[in-house]
């Protein structure tokens, strides 16, 4: 059974009424994975034995009305640590790494009775926009197996699009939840920086990284964010803010009179015409529902890419210093001395893109370059954040395309890292400012029939407004109900 025409509420009701058991749902997930994953290659590891055992225990105990997520099979991106279950970040460096603890988000899900079916593929250490940078496999887009699913959470996006699970955890440093959601026609929410604990997330850019969900529907996403959000003493950047009942509040969602800002820079150079066409139609749809569409300017948008690649690479070069071949992970063979352990281990253990980012970051932070690069980029980050503050002072939300194009072909951009970086043009700025952003299915390209995402960006800690607008769109359109015909091209 593919997890397509259902949602968390329906599955929960069926579980409570004993129309289906957690064991049956879990088996269904593995059956679907086995039917699709030879082609899609979304998963790096399956957690079959433990998942079925957990499901049996949940069935034994019985599922009560208030245990909404108990017995629901979901998947986890492989840069989120899972106790005893290999966590690789899709890197040779961590190919055999078995964490001794669960990430806070994983701990919360386990406590809620969620069943983790397995770990999904990504670009190595979440650096990339196609999953082609994985050291192990390239995930394919279920809509067209010759195309990428986006990245870095491409495995999670493809697993949801293939109907393997209703939702999968992702991480987003510069667009890594939203861009794959756009490419695969699913919902992807990057919450406000600080909304979700980063404890147990393999660090990339610590002032940008956030955990969130890729899901089939906005409401499922809202339920699932509630389950993982909140202050965590293990991550002191997690916010001491109350977590709203995002999903229940959707009952009051309305876009009449909603003030939507549309930055003209989001429709400028470098954005494909077929993407613009779909997004413009989506904005017209909001207008027809009573929203007020207002064209604005966010003049620093174009500086997002250079500033982001300086700052995120700098943080990455610092975070990835820990991979030294001493305490855990890969160690190069036949090393002569300690320096050799470090250099050979890192040179053999990291892939090309990770090395490029470490080089960019180390350069930007080095004496003589710090002021001109790192400090300069941090100032530009402020200007980008100020653009958002100004526009959101008199608008409820900002909308535009999520990605500059639809899913591109496998191999099309992987030889040119600089072309690959431009994919993040429309997503990095929300990470720079720490704001919540969500991609929802907005329609299909008239050129190639592939999904196109609409990006909705909100005020800090106002995920509710983002979900509300996405939910209203979903309730009044049926793009999210379209599913790929795996095996055949669309």
């Amino acid at each position: 059974m593919a997890f397509y025409d259902t949602d968390i509420e329906q599955l929960h009701a069926a579980l409570v009424n004993k129309q289906v058991s957690a064991s049956e749902l879990t088996k269904a997930a593995f059956d679907q994975i086995k039917a699709t994953d030879d082609q899609v290659q979304a998963f790096l590891a399956l957690n079959e034995e433990a998942a079925l055992k957990q499901a049996a225990a949940i069935d034994q105990a019985g599922i009560k009305d208030d245990q909404l997520l108990a017995g629901i099979p979901l998947a986890v991106k492989d840069n989120i640590v899972t106790k005893g279950l290999t966590t690789t970040a899709a890197s040779k460096m961590l190919a055999n790494f078995k964490p001794v603890y669960d990430a806070t988000v994983v701990e919360k899900l386990a406590a809620a009775g969620v069943i983790n079916v397995g770990k999904t593929n990504l670009d190595e250490f979440a650096m990339g926009s196609s999953t082609e940078n994985s050291a192990f496999q390239t995930t394919k887009n279920p809509w067209d197996l010759t195309r990428v699913p986006g990245g870095s959470s491409g495995g999670s996006a493809a697993a949801v699009a293939a109907g393997d699970v209703l939702a999968a955890l992702g991480t987003d440093t510069g667009g890594s939840i939203r861009q794959p959601a756009s490419f695969t026609g699913v919902v992807g929410m990057k919450p406000t920086y600080g909304r979700v604990s980063r404890w147990g997330i393999i660090a990339f850019g610590s002032s940008f990284d956030q955990v969130g969900w890729l899901s089939r529907s906005v409401k499922d996403n809202a339920y699932l964010l509630e389950a993982i959000a909140g202050r965590d003493e293990h991550d002191l950047t997690s916010a001491k803010k109350e977590v709203p009942h995002f999903a229940a509040n959707l009952a009051k969602a309305d876009v009449k009179g909603l003030k939507i800002a549309v930055p003209k820079e989001y429709f400028g150079e470098g954005i494909d015409a077929d993407v613009k066409e779909v997004v413009e139609a989506a904005l017209k749809h909001y207008e027809s529902l009573g929203a007020i569409i207002d064209e604005v300017s966010m003049p620093h948008t174009k500086y997002g890419i250079p500033a982001y690649y300086i700052l995120a690479s700098s943080e990455a070069s610092s975070n990835l210093q820990r991979y030294d071949g001493i305490r855990y992970g890969f160690r190069a063979e036949d090393v002569k001395n300690l320096e050799d352990v470090y250099v050979r281990t890192r040179s053999e253990g990291f892939g090309a893109e990770v090395k490029r980012r470490i080089m960019l970051g180390t350069f930007s932070l080095s004496a003589g370059s710090y002021d001109a690069y790192f400090a300069k980029a941090a100032k530009v980050r402020r200007l980008i954040a100020d653009d958002f503050t100004k526009v959101l002072a008199d608008h409820d939300l900002i909308m535009g395309p999520t990605a500059v194009s639809t899913a591109f072909k496998v191999g099309e951009e992987s030889s040119d890292p600089n072309k690959m970086y431009l994919n993040d043009l429309l997503t990095v700025t929300a990470n720079m400012a720490g704001l919540p952003g969500m991609s929802i299915p907005a329609g299909f390209s008239k050129q190639n029939g592939l999904p196109v995402g609409l990006q909705i960006i909100g005020k800090a800690f106002d995920e509710q407004a983002v979900y509300d607008a996405g939910y209203v769109f979903e309730q009044t359109t049926d793009f999210h109900k379209q599913t790929p015909r795996l095996g055949g091209q669309n």
Partner: protein, 101 residues
């Protein structure tokens, strides 16, 4: 700005980052890095006089908590992740280079 990184400077940065590249790898990497740095040059033309740098979006500062041991006593599991162990300790090569003189 727009000064090129160059091969020698790239080797220096690699040393700082504890990475090494073959000549062939440098042939590929240096032009790629230079092209990325060319993107960075867009920033140099911007006037950022008086702009406060933003290093993080968080507003949380100096969170305090009790320093208590949690999830401890996992020595065995931790050691299983080590590349080489001996007598319950992590084994590393000699720190002093014994390959020469």
């Amino acid at each position: 700005m727009a000064e090129k990184l160059g091969r020698e400077a790239a080797k220096h940065v690699a040393e700082l980052a504890k990475l090494s590249f073959t000549d062939q790898e440098l042939d590929q990497f240096v032009p790629q890095l230079e092209e990325t740095m060319h993107l960075f040059d867009d920033l140099q033309q911007m006037d950022t006089t008086g702009v406060e740098p933003m290093y993080s979006p968080t507003t949380e500062v100096n969170g305090m908590r009790e320093d208590v041991a949690e999830k401890s006593g996992q020595k065995e599991a931790l050691l299983q992740n080590a590349p080489e162990t001996k007598n319950g300790l992590i084994k590393v090569p000699a720190i002093i280079d014994e390959s020469e003189d």
